[in-house]
Amino acid sequence: MIRVAVGAGVIDVAAEMAAHDAGVHGASAAFVGRVRGDGELTELFLEHHPVLTASGLDALATGAAARWRLDALTLIHRVGGMAPGETIVLVLASSAHRAEALAACEFLIDRLKTDVMLWKRERFADGRVQWVEPRAGDHGRAERWD
């Protein structure tokens, strides 16, 4: 079962894990990405494309399912404004054995950072607003999976 979603609603990690684990999987890997409150950050805003962001997530999920033997895959990305501590992204990958679940989870989070139309904008307590620049290492990590 593949579940992919993008939206402005709060990601309920516990509910998603319960739904994901409806089947019986030998191994489940999870990645939860949250908003850091570095430098007095007050809001993180995620801009997205109304169509292409969802299709990009779908393509990633399909790619992971083709590459590893997965019993279940959940890929959820939040968009819009969020506060420090809130969940931005949730990746759950389940397989019969740990190696495939862990690899698929890492592949998805690495590729999310380079392949999907999403842009982060930070707002700070002193009023500064800035768009986040890609990290130098992100493309290197993503390219490991080519």
């Binding site: 990405g33 801009e47 992204v89 950072k113 768009w131």
Partner: protein, 85 residues
């Protein structure tokens, strides 16, 4: 050639609009030429596209490079490198 162009993140902010339909001259044949043409068109384009190497593009939903042809394109999206995850 009439082309629908969508802008995102700081490219959208600098252009002042999220999307527009523009009449592009026939000699503007690929994404790189479109970016250069927009940069030369007016002040907001000059601001948004001052650094072409920081611009990424998608044609009708597929990510492309600066050499991608505009022939047959309906919508071109122009945006900075993505920062999701």
């Amino acid at each position: 050639m009439a082309l629908q162009i969508a802008y995102f993140a700081w490219v959208r902010e600098r252009m002042g609009v999220a999307d527009e339909t523009v009449e592009v001259p026939a000699q503007v044949a690929d994404v790189g030429a479109l970016v250069a043409w927009l940069a030369a068109r007016d002040g907001r384009g000059a601001l948004a596209f001052a650094e072409p190497h920081r611009i990424r593009a998608a044609i009708d939903g597929a990510m492309t490079g600066p050499d991608a042809s505009l022939a047959g394109a309906r919508e071109v999206a122009l945006f900075p490198p993505v920062t999701g995850g």
